[in-house]
Symmetry: C2
Subunit: 490 residues, 2 copies
């Protein structure tokens, strides 16, 4: 078992500090881990049984191997327990307690003690450590969950294809909840906390090789080794997209980051250009981080800048057109021309007052069949590089099967597609349904346009890397103004 | 009764084309109007009763006055019915049918016919006409609703303080649904359609004088009389904020607008500068339109640029700080310094590991009481111009009463406040609750920061208008870089 696998797919997990008190972290962690595929050993010298499982007085009394030990004990006790982990031959340690380097000198000394304990062990037997000051990990597909917020108050995302690595626990919880409420899933979450041992670079490598992960998203306040991060991105981004929300851009933000995670951020200008150069996407807020990660992980890169817009509300089509084409408050893409043949086919398929010019307007009387027919026509249009589809449920001739139709065309149609839906409960239901089906769908026109632009930038980047576009055109035929101009407008 | 009052508070309404067929527009309009405070007269020569109400064969057979006639009949019949309205002495007409100027020459001729009929009537007896090609009006507080989307599929906003005027019906429906799902209410909606008679300028005047309206939001594809619109804004914006989503900015957007509503948009550059000069806010997408309208209608203008951030997740505080202070991907405001006394008070009120520097971090162990104490301290800090409050429900010591606490401080505290909440169902529940209590709250950090910046810009504008800031400081003491620099970064 490769060392980091012990964090994300352990066969056995010990919870040190397991508790019968439902208010304790050690209780929540045990309870949630018992739902996982791993064998769970509660450890607590003053209990014989916890949540119906026999409790062990110490790590060493556990029979057999322990892949992962979750330390749900305070900072000073954590040091002692790391020593016990070494003795037991534990492969991976999650140190959840705060009160370490982030709080000052005394905490830093505790970290040094742990570092000394670990480095005294020969490399091949040395346990790896995540944290301290971390929620640990959450892996939806095997229900491995060491995060300790109450699930009823803090729903978790389902299985998906985004790996999310965060330097801040509480922030990650908020981001994961918001993602879950849109049906967006994760391949895994890892909180790196104070990065005493395992850091963002090693996790970047790990998820680059992880077959369940299609995009890697980071919330970072500093880089442990910025050059190493960039080198990894350069190697990885041609295969797998990376999105980084690097906070601490402003002077006060940098100070706040230093107070928050005790980290010193470098100059932001350098970060900005360097990330772009190695093909990583930078996000500027929590919403953009998830928005970009999902479209880059799920969508197909664009082979050109010409977008077809399909809508049921003329005004939404006009706003989308503005956002797509404008270079100020827009992304500088283009509306695809529709061929005369295509227009004729649309005319015969749609209602008489529909607009067959791009943006194509099915009108408020749209039906599932109109959507299907129009998508089919657009899919066969040579000059269409992507379809931006407005999915609305107001029309009485549309029902929830429209969501299935769009899911099908996204996964099996020949063109890259991004979906947007504006409205109330029906829209949100469709949004969650598409989210769970791993279709990039957004509840705002701008977010959908920004996502489309990201797929275009990704297409340009890949074309530069390989000399050939996603659809096999020579890269020279692309006009990647938005990307090469240094300003992506996203 | 002033002529436009007949549209928004009619005592009597006739539905011409009322129908017993639930699939017909004339059915839905009748059904929803029957819930209003107005007396409703269904008109249809081939029915004796509709929805339990006696049906009249013609307008002229209705006993007594008709304030408003809703024409739910096709375009050619609409012309005839306008003639009948004139005969009956109807005050206001909503012409819902499409198939007029937006479809070409034949439709334009029908519009000319209507114009001729109306202009043949002496001014004091001439009915006013909204449309054609419009959903009409929706006034939540008196349940007057002539829009004809099925409510079960298309929930309406509740009562609120934003007047929303839209040139596109289907787009307005999407925007209203989305607003409703956030608890955002309206004072009134009016669809202006083809603007044969009543246009955006007259409605701007009307809602400027409407005591129920605190902000006026427009979706427009062209201006009937741009100069008149700007002159009105100059007069109105010192008293009431105006937000304009003027679509058709790009070349293709302009073409799309021409195809959609048959309107020719002017040069966009001119619009941009002119709106700013007269103190109107421009929105660039449907989300920004509502976001700005609600914060400007409900929030208090800032007297300075120094913002205090209150959070329970350090990382969210760092991201907010970046967005507030950065001039690139940010709004160029400042973090307020906290006095030593304030820090001492925070230290004694909060948990030991809380951060008492701005951004103030209550930590994931925050309680309602921590929020209350911290807000009280910030309210008394002299250098704090506004509070940006992150409302999170993950902590076990926080419950839904937190929402009430924040609502109370928003309405009764001394400082302008904007609220943000990031998360799942609990966050959304709090969001809707605050929305219904008319507190500007957003589910994204960026949207909250943008709203805060709008309040600052509004403060600068009002100070320029009056020479005195919202809090009585001389305007010269403001440093309105963001606004005066011509780039508001919003």
């Amino acid at each position: 078992m490769a060392s980091l696998d012990a964090f994300f797919a352990p066969r056995t997990v010990a919870v040190v500090g397991a508790s019968r008190d439902p208010a304790k972290i050690g209780h929540l962690v045990t309870k949630y881990l018992l739902e996982s595929e791993a064998r769970v050993y509660p450890v607590n010298p003053s209990a014989r049984e916890i949540l119906g499982r026999p409790c062990y007085p110490a790590l060493e009394s556990i029979p057999g191997e322990v892949d992962l030990a979750v330390l749900a004990v305070p900072a000073p006790a954590t040091v002692e327990m790391v020593r016990e982990c070494v003795k037991k031959g534990v492969r991976a340690i999650i140190a959840q307690a705060s009160g370490f380097g982030e709080t000052g000198e005394a905490g830093r000394r505790l970290e040094t003690e742990i570092r000394d304990i670990l480095s005294s062990v020969p490399g091949d037997r040395r346990p790896r450590l995540l944290g301290p000051n971390t929620l640990g990990v959450y892996v939806p597909r095997n229900r491995l969950d060491t995060t300790f917020t109450v699930r009823e108050r803090s729903p978790r995302p389902g299985p998906g294809d985004i790996a999310f690595i965060s330097q801040s626990g509480a922030t990650a919880v908020c981001i994961m909840e918001a993602a879950a409420s849109m049906g967006v899933g994760l391949s895994a979450f890892a909180g790196i906390g104070n990065k005493l041992d395992v850091d963002e670079n090693e996790l970047l490598d790990y998820f680059a090789a992880d077959p369940h992960t299609r995009a890697i998203a980071f919330y970072l306040e500093n880089f442990r080794d910025g050059r190493g991060f960039l080198e990894r991105c350069r190697r990885i981004t041609p295969r797998k997209p990376v999105v980084v929300l690097k906070a601490g851009r402003s002077a006060s933000g940098m100070r706040a980051a230093a107070l928050h995670t005790g980290s010193l951020a470098g100059s932001d200008r350098v970060v900005e250009g360097a990330l772009r150069q190695v093909g990583a996407f930078r996000a500027y807020d929590e919403e953009e981080l998830v928005d970009l990660a999902r479209v880059l992980g799920q969508g197909r890169p664009l082979a050109g800048r010409r977008v077809a817009v399909l809508t049921t509300a003329g005004g939404l089509g006009v706003i989308l057109t503005d956002l797509l084409e404008s270079r100020d408050r827009g992304v500088g893409l283009e509306l695809a021309p529709i061929s005369e043949e295509g227009k004729a086919r649309l005319r015969s398929a749609l209602v008489p007052f529909a607009s067959v010019h791009n943006p194509i307007d099915l009108t408020a009387n749209s039906s599932n069949q109109h959507y299907a027919d129009a998508l089919r026509v657009l899919e066969e249009e040579e000059d269409v590089d992507a379809i931006l589809c407005v999915m609305q449920f107001q029309s009485p001739y549309v029902d929830e099967a429209l969501a299935d139709l769009i899911i099908d065309r996204f996964h099996h149609g020949p063109k890259p597609m991004v979906v947007v839906t504006i409205g109330g409960e029906l829209s949100w239901r469709g949004l969650r349904r598409l989210g769970e089906a791993r279709v990039p769908v957004y509840p705002s026109l701008w977010r959908a346009v920004r996502a489309t632009a990201a797929l275009y930038q990704r297409g340009c980047y890949l074309a530069r890397c390989t000399g050939v576009t996603a659809q096999g055109t020579a890269a020279a035929q692309l006009r990647p103004r938005a990307w090469e101009g240094g300003s992506c407008h996203v």
